[in-house]
Symmetry: C2
Subunit: 258 residues, 2 copies
């Protein structure tokens, strides 16, 4: 399945009404099975499905390392992913409870328990924000989103050092885009503890918690954070930057650039 | 809990770095119980929680009419909502299975089953799109989003006739914003079959299906639709308009304005 799809549209521009070809972002229902049990159907862009599977399984606590996965098989045509996990340990079971909250399903516990469980997981290695680097990285980041340029309908996400973008991905969902980036980092053995996450999307508590689980010390967004994202960042020692656009940005939490 | 929250930020603008007060959108973890069973924790803006509860219960198939609910109690401070439902009937059970798909949780069936179940639910009353009305409604819609103006971090959604906006709401999540609007319509007995939905957010299949369940014939978005949203609109006879901005818009499906 291609990332984008051609459609016929009627374009209106003032008094001009024309029939035209246009391009929209493809949306694939992608169902993940763990040890042959159906776990979830994600609505996603159809690229990087292996990365998405690995990233999702980590975010949702099914695995705590790549080595927990014995085998992954992706059927791109049918939109099916099969993961065989050898080690659903206590650590991952602890996290797994939270899946129900961040994705909005039926077996959740009250949310603030999640925050409690993160108290002990403050960022180990703070990273000093270099403002000029962020401006430069965001310029490159914005230019790189090909799917967005074509469709205007996807979010992009990147993992980068202070110098360059190391992993980049796009998806119709901002959560999926981040999971794809983290999945790639896990598959390639890229350390996330000394990296930054760039995202085009708003930073809600869900995004923040995904990044915190990977011990990412800095999150930079082109958009706004929510109050809960700011609170959790503060608690965990994460640097959170929003509205990073051109020469401007707002630093919500973290070490000051003064 | 207020809709917005004051925070201290460090603002960067070229070489100028200043400490300032700023405002972010509040994010509340809101847990819904149905007949004392915990169902879901939504991460949402803390306004209109009764509307959100009713809209969510309808979207997820717990109810098929307002009369299915005996009692609703909302604890705003604690972020808890309790609904007592007298009639979880076959119809609602059919829909309930789909909750697991649209929200991404553990008990889903393969997605295309959802599309099958919608085949028979084509829009009964098509509504002719009046382009000048849409331009005018979108202007009013854009100006009305107070939370967005303050925070830049929320989505807005409205139900309207060709003449005016009838229900309006905002939320950090575009799904919640739509559920709040439909919840209000259910509570006030407003017919949705001859109305349009306006949204600031992207239109994915989930948004489309929520609107289809309420038999809304026209969806207008400031943003992009996905391929699956276009496909489902086509199948169900829904008029789908995207990128409605100023004098421009793209009509993806539905009756042509020629």
């Amino acid at each position: 399945m291609k990332d984008v799809k051609e459609v016929k549209i009627t374009r209106v521009d003032r008094d001009k009404i024309t029939s035209e070809d246009d391009i929209v972002a493809a949306e694939l229902p992608f169902t993940i099975f763990v040890n042959d049990e159906e776990i979830v159907t994600l609505l996603c862009s159809p690229n990087s499905l292996k990365e998405l599977t690995v990233g999702f399984l980590y975010s949702e606590g099914f695995i705590s390392a790549l080595s927990d996965i014995d085998k992954i098989y992706i059927d791109e045509e049918k939109g099916l992913g099969y993961a065989y996990i050898n080690n659903i340990n206590e650590f991952s079971k602890d996290f797994r409870g939270k899946r129900t909250i961040t994705s909005g399903c039926g077996k959740g516990t009250v949310f603030y328990n999640v925050l409690d469980s993160f108290k002990s997981r403050r960022i180990e290695k703070p990273l000093h924000v270099n403002i000029e680097s962020i401006k430069s990285l965001m310029r490159i980041f914005n230019k790189r989103s090909e799917m967005f340029m074509k469709t205007g309908g996807v979010h992009s996400c990147a993992l980068c050092s202070m110098e360059e973008i190391i992993v980049f991905n796009e998806d119709i969902g901002r959560h999926n885009a981040l999971d794809k980036v983290f999945g790639k980092a896990l598959l390639d053995g890229i350390d996330t503890k000394d990296k930054m996450v760039l995202t085009s999307g708003r930073v809600s508590s869900e995004i923040l918690i995904k990044a915190a689980k990977r011990q990412v010390p800095v999150i930079i967004s082109r958009s706004a954070p929510t109050s809960l994202a700011v609170e959790i960042s503060e608690k965990l020692g994460i640097t959170l930057v929003g509205f990073a656009r051109g020469e401007k940005m707002s630093i919500y939490t973290g070490n000051s650039p003064f």
